[in-house]
Amino acid sequence: MFGYYFQLGLRSLKSRPVLTALMIMSIAIGVATSVTTYGVFRATGGNPIPQKSSQLFVPQIDNWGPDENVERGGEPPRALSYTDTVALMRDQRAKRQTALYPITALIVPAEPTVLPFRVKSYAAYANTFPMFDIPFLYGGGWSADEDESLTAVTVISRSLNETLFKGADSVGQQIDIAGRSYRISGVMDDWDPQPVFYDAENTRGFGMPAQLFIPFTHAIDLQVPTSGNRSCYKTPDPGWDAWLQSECAWVSYWVELPDPTSVAAYRDYLRSYSAQQQQLGRFNWPPNTRLHNLTEWLDYLKVVPPESKISALIGLGFLLICLVNTIGLLLAKFLQRASEIGVRRALGASRSAIFQQFLVEAGTVGLAGGLLALPLTWVGTLSTDLVFTPQIARLAELNTSLVVLTLVVAVFSTIMAALYPIWCAAQVQPAWQLKTN
């Protein structure tokens, strides 16, 4: 019967081409808009490292005091001071921990004809690589001993390795970063988590991937300044040492806590550390600490841009209006054929047979709408750079899951929209129709 109903449906769609075209276009535009905007929303609100996100935590310690936190509603600074970073790193209370900050690294290529260039770089601890599951093409991260000994060692990205070494295994080679020589310990494979969770505070969540890492301890030793935010409530005294001793918040700190027990233990540790600082007279207030896991942290920083939420909502509203439109048009289309329904019913078709017939017809309309929506969604994903910054627009692409989603949403929403018109069609009284015509 399905094949027969399908043919009936096609015939009916062909018989009123204008009405059919209006309906299909309405569904296609509604679905394409909502799927495109949802695609961007999903990319911006996505989990950058799903396998690890529940184990990675960001501690916050209030080193400013309630008076200075008024503008943040009493929340502690979003980064750690160098003093607290050193203390937490020394205590080693988590399974793994790392601290990092963005730096400006200028690469001076070996060939004198090539001009120097800048890459996105971070000063970090050796633990960064296993903690963030960073994949390696050649070699690996440096060792904790090299952190200790302030070694000039570096990890570079696959694309930087392409530029400098034409993709060859460069482990052990030296590169010139701002006039100093660094030994390459590893080449990362493609690693581009979005949002850029490890530096969400400075990138506002989105940006190009990190191309180069050097040891945190080595960067501090060389007095390499942060290229990110320096949050200070008081202008620090002049000089590098005063900067390190200041209460300015500028270091991103991450800990890996594999289970709830260790999370609770770390919370206690942060509180007792703060209490200890209070006793020492550094903090003049009771402990005010936070420990967010990765997804909570991204929510806390509000990295999903308002544009992405607003346009996803508008896309949804758009789909809703298109569906209301479709309900009206389907109602018109089905009830136009009241006499045909009457004849079928009089010839013995049951209500449920009529129901099935029109369900198949509605499904066909939905599928046609979905197929038309595919090229529209494709155009939509290509045009996301109209609304979003390039860092975010590059995340929107028409992948398999979006194609499936387009078709499923189109068919499902059309069938939902068709329920009332189908019910009306099934209620047609055969006697009444036969009599009046």
Binding site: L19, R118, T235, I310, F318, I321, N325, G328, L331, A332
Partner: protein, 408 residues
């Protein structure tokens, strides 16, 4: 108007179609006028003046590699001298930042250095005596910096200079009685010595385009100092028609002078502005497109449903025609019917629009919607509805009275 009662009676028979059309008009109105409101607020953001003369202005940001800090100042000065001598260049200056660049350096402004609370937050730009003329900033009272006042300052050892030029907005905020010129204030909360206002400029924007959320968009202090640091930002005013040529020649001249540098940005001010406001402009375009498509879809829906009704009621129309109704009566019946549904939809839509706006205001800090958008949206929807219904109504009017008797 005497038709209203029979129309309402007829609509009761078509409850589903009526409700659907009304609902669609209501939802379209709610979305469209909020979209218009978003467009307007984005346009206002983009139209804020920077205080600069933005045409023929080129910005270059350059970072040096492996330089002895002691030599930096003379290298930067050599850069500026080279830029000023380039053909096609009217003037050039070095500044710590500039409006819309995004590298903001805000500090609190106090009259009493020991006061806990600041009087205002203000952007700081570190400039030389060429800044005002290069950037086209209008000085309204006082004087520009003198060349001998410009001091090279180590970024790790900053002492605030004795002179400052401030914007009128900051002057009015800190000295509400209008007596800013010649007065002293303190920058930050640990400055040992005060800074004196030597000039007041009409307007200059902070560097960060969202500084308004921290209330310092129009508060700027220009200080006669130049930071000795490896990255420098140059602003170049070109002669008319020379912008493209200088965009090519300026970086080349700098590379020739010293190739151990990395340009982090070479862009005309126009490009800087376009990049900063890209998402605002895109949002405005998207909202505009959505409003238009929604109106079109609503028109299509009205057209489709009315066509269907006309088809269903051919017999009744025939009867009315046979009983003496003119073609004009039939036309006006369908137009009035659509107007009634439209007005119902608009009434519901106004409530939805205001509700949606209130929700957007709390969730996304959007601005309050002006009632004018509801009015404009309502009129637009009613007109679109009437136009969409014209075709089917015209077909209805041409139904022959014979149809009334044909199927009996």
């Amino acid at each position: 108007m005497r038709q209203v009662a029979p129309i309402l009676a007829a609509l009761k028979k078509h409850r589903a179609g009526t409700i659907l059309t009304g609902l669609q008009i209501a939802l379209t109105l709610a979305v469209t006028c909020n979209a218009l409101s978003i467009i307007q607020s984005r346009m206002v953001r983009m139209d804020r003046p920077t205080g600069l003369n933005e045409s023929n202005l080129l910005t270059i940001s350059s970072d040096r590699i492996g330089v002895d800090p002691a030599e930096l100042r003379s290298l930067i000065n050599a850069d500026i001298e080279t830029l000023r001598r380039l053909p096609g260049v009217a003037n050039a200056t070095e500044s710590s930042s500039f409006p819309l660049q995004g590298n903001s350096w805000p500090e609190g402004i106090r009259l009493d250095p020991n006061a806990k609370d600041r009087l205002a937050r203000s952007e700081l730009y570190f400039v030389d005596d060429h800044a005002l003329s290069t950037l086209g900033i209008r000085l309204i009272t006082g004087r520009n910096f003198r060349q001998d006042e410009i001091r090279a300052t180590d970024v790790n050892n900053i002492q605030w200079p004795e002179q400052a030029i401030i914007t009128r907005a900051l002057a009015d905020k800190v000295y509400p009685d209008g007596s800013a010129l010649g007065k002293s204030f303190y920058i930050g909360n640990n400055s040992p010595s005060p800074t004196t206002v030597v000039g007041i400029i009409e307007h200059l924007q902070a560097s960060w385009s969202r500084a308004d959320s921290f209330e310092y968009m129009d508060h700027v202090v220009l200080l006669p100092m130049q930071l000795t640091r490896s990255n420098s930002t140059y602003l170049i005013r070109t002669k008319a028609g020379q912008l493209d040529a200088v965009t090519e020649s300026a970086p080349a001249a700098l590379i020739e002078l010293d190739r151990m540098r990395v340009f982090q940005g070479i862009s005309t001010y126009q490009t800087v502005r376009e990049n900063v406001y890209q998402s605002d402009r895109g949002m405005a375009k998207l909202m505009g497109a959505i409003s238009l498509v929604l109106l079109a879809i609503t028109a299509a829906g009205v057209f489709g449903l009315t066509s269907f009704w006309v088809g269903q009621r051919r017999k009744q129309i025939g009867v009315r025609r046979a009983l003496g109704a003119t073609q004009g009566d039939i036309m006006s019946y369908f137009l009035t019917e659509n107007l009634l549904i439209g007005m119902g939809g608009v009434a519901l839509g106004t409530v939805l629009a205001i509700g949606l706006n209130l929700w957007l205001m709390t969730s996304f800090e959007l601005a309050e919607m002006s009632p004018i958008y509801v009015l404009v949206g309502s009129v637009a929807l009613l007109v679109v509805g009437q136009i969409a219904v014209l075709g089917p109504a015209f077909r209805a009017a041409r139904v022959s009275p014979v149809e009334a008797i044909r199927s009996i």
